[in-house]
């Protein structure tokens, strides 16, 4: 029998503190849809998605209902689309993107990730086709997300790809100027991109993964900040060690929920359960913010001195609790700090507490990177590339995933508030210090070699 206090505290977590499952993502390999005929390839992709993913939303809703817990997002992550584009050109890339977009809509999935290329050591012609297509693809599709891996611990940083991505981010933003550059919000540039990440926009199904798999992203930061607030109110005089323990316990709880739901959905769909991603993913909703956790833990606003130390503690405690709760931890598994998607971060940026440089410092101790940051639309492409290179270096040297999702907002200047709506939130355009001062570095091109730490064999 369950104890009544366990039942009542669970009800409180579920219904007052936003305990939910952030995403159940079906990973699906589409390599078998390759065809010399682009039309046939697109039909095969659409058919496969319709047949394999059609039950996902219904299963998530029904199982969520049974447990009284909401599965917020149901998503699809495919194997890298660049593989299918081998031997094809720009037209095929656009046709494939449209097919993926329509197939996702047909099965009621709000985002599909995996329009991706892995170019950390070099580019194939297919990778080039995919990267060249991004401005058109991301401005004309609604549900498709793209990602490009430009660096790994082993290979180092492909600076030619970094430079190209700097140009493409700007081109995508301008191609979607009528949506304030929103196309760029659907592209992530990665170092050490994980094969099993369930979170958008960077989800894809990597090499070594099964034909189909369920990966789950656990609940967000609202549960953690509520637990900390309650504990602090009940017991004044707690130390940071005590609070880290509280985070750990909460992470254990949310991970168990993710695992329970994921396993049941996987069972229903007849596919293996992959991983639980422990990441604390905020939403613009008040009370569901990583920034708020930092405020509870003692800084007036995220970005103030101490923020890096707190987020390091938070990230570590989340992993410790999660690792005990599940043997299948994967994906990104850290705390996200996406400026637009976290109301507290957006407020801190507007109030001058949070700068790009402080965000970069924090990404060295948490996942995932410079995320959902509006920047002036006239930022030079080489400066964007140099920012990417800096972030990739943090990932490569520290053997972790880092990423960049910058949104150059055409016509906007520093401090302008940009509203993307819904889960994508709003934030002020952030300042890029010293724009145009890194061109010579970026133009060298080539590859920054893998660090000495990569020689582990």
């Amino acid at each position: 029998m369950l104890r009544t206090d366990e039942i009542l505290s669970t009800i409180e977590m579920l219904h007052a503190e936003y305990l939910d499952v952030r995403t159940v993502t079906l990973g699906l390999n589409i390599d078998d849809c390759a065809s010399e005929d682009a039309g046939r390839m697109c039909r095969k992709v659409a058919d496969k998605i319709r047949s394999r993913a059609c039950g996902l939303v219904e299963a998530c809703d029904r199982i969520g209902n049974k447990y009284g817990i909401r599965v917020v997002n149901k998503r699809l992550a495919i194997s890298p689309a660049a593989t299918l584009l081998a031997g094809h050109g720009a037209q095929a890339a656009m046709a494939l993107a449209e097919s993926l977009d329509q197939a996702a809509e047909a099965v009621n999935i709000n985002l599909v990730g995996g329009f991706s290329a892995l170019v950390h050591k070099g580019m194939t012609p297919a990778d080039e086709v995919l990267i060249d297509s991004l401005p058109a693809v991301l401005s004309r599709t609604q549900r498709l997300c793209a990602s490009v891996n430009v660096a790994t611990r082993h290979a180092g940083i492909n600076m030619d790809a970094v430079r190209r991505m700097g140009e493409q981010i700007l081109a995508i933003a301008h191609a979607s100027a009528d949506a304030k550059g929103f196309g760029a919000a659907k592209l992530v540039v990665f170092a050490n991109m994980p094969e099993d990440n369930p979170f958008m926009a960077g989800a894809y199904l990597g090499a070594g993964e099964p034909e189909a798999v369920i990966n789950v992203g656990v609940s967000g930061p609202g549960v953690v900040s509520s637990a900390l607030r309650r504990r602090i109110e009940l017991e004044p005089g707690l130390s940071l060690g005590d609070l880290a323990e509280e985070i750990k316990i909460t992470a254990f709880r949310v991970t168990r929920v993710g695992e329970l739901i994921g396993r049941e959905v996987a069972g229903e769909l007849g596919v293996p359960m992959g991983i639980v991603d422990l990441s604390l993913a905020p939403t613009p909703q008040v009370g569901d913010s990583v920034g708020e956790i930092l405020e509870v833990l003692g800084v007036d606003r995220i970005g103030a001195p101490g923020s890096t130390a707190i987020i390091a503690m938070l990230n570590d405690a989340v992993k410790k609790g999660g690792a005990f709760a599940s043997s299948s931890i994967g994906g990104l598994s850290g705390a996200f700090i996406p400026v637009c998607e976290d109301a507290s971060l957006a407020r801190a940026a507007a109030a001058g507490y949070l700068s790009l440089e402080k965000l970069e410092a924090m990404t060295s101790v948490c996942s995932v990177g410079l995320d959902m940051i509006p920047i002036p639309g006239d930022t030079p492409a080489e400066t964007i590339a140099a920012i990417i290179a800096d972030e990739m270096a943090i990932g490569v040297i520290n053997n972790k995933t880092t990423a960049v999702r910058l949104i150059p907002v055409p016509g906007a200047k520093v401090g302008d508030i940009v509203e993307f709506g819904g889960l994508f939130g709003s934030a002020p355009v952030m300042q890029i210090r010293n724009p145009g001062a890194s061109g010579r570095f970026v133009r060298f091109g080539g590859r920054i070699p893998g660090p000495i730490q990569s020689l582990g064999n």
């Binding site: 669970t10 447990y67 009284g68 817990i69 329970l260």
Partner: protein
């Protein structure tokens, strides 16, 4: 459940709470060389209640056991005792088959809340395995652990219960017990038998 000895009873005791009631019952059992096979006890609003499965190696009559407990109690006049024969073939056991769900109801206290939901569950053949209710200020909270047979459709039960709760301005939730196990306990949630959908 198999008892240790062949002569077995279910004992129920109710009394104003005070130290020594369980001790008196245990001494009485011991006096007949008996064994406590299973027990559950709680105190609610100052009142003690106990249910025990007891077994004895030699024949004992319920009246003998009753008298022994009364004889050992500090204040026998306040003790209510009920004893019946125990059988491991009790028809009650079958009602606990199915998957375990938790029902929570909350809202302003008023007459007939328990009746409203218990009556609906009884009509559906859903057994209440555990029930707890408490008043917090002018609010009443009811927590029931129930077994839902595989033939039942959870969504329609939820819809019906929500309608019943809505009529009196209450909130109700029906959730599979595994969510509570996952969040609060270290044991693994078990898959159960026939899945209620």
């Amino acid at each position: 459940m198999k008892t240790r000895y062949p002569t077995a009873f279910v004992l129920n005791v109710i009394a104003p709470d005070r130290p020594g009631i369980v001790a008196a019952v245990s001494k009485a059992v011991n006096a007949f060389d008996g064994n406590v096979d299973s027990c559950s006890q709680t105190v609610l609003a100052g009142y003690f209640t106990l249910i025990m499965v007891l077994s004895f190696p030699q024949p004992v009559e319920p009246e003998q056991l009753n008298d022994a407990i009364m004889g050992l109690a500090v204040d026998p006049s306040e003790l209510g005792i009920h004893i019946c024969r125990y059988t491991d073939q009790s028809p009650g056991a079958k009602w606990m088959e199915g998957e375990n769900f938790v029902i929570t109801v909350s809202g302003a206290d008023r007459d007939g809340i328990v009746l409203r939901f218990a009556d609906y569950l009884a009509d559906k053949g859903i057994n209440i395995n555990d029930l707890y209710g408490m008043t917090q200020g002018d609010q009443f909270i009811l927590v029931g652990q129930v077994s839902i047979p595989g033939r039942c459709d959870v969504r329609s039960l939820q819809a019906d219960l929500e309608q019943l709760a809505k009529e009196i301005g209450h909130t109700i939730r029906l959730q599979h017990e595994n969510i509570f196990v996952a969040i609060n306990q270290l044991r693994l949630p078990h898959a159960g038998g026939k899945t209620a959908r």
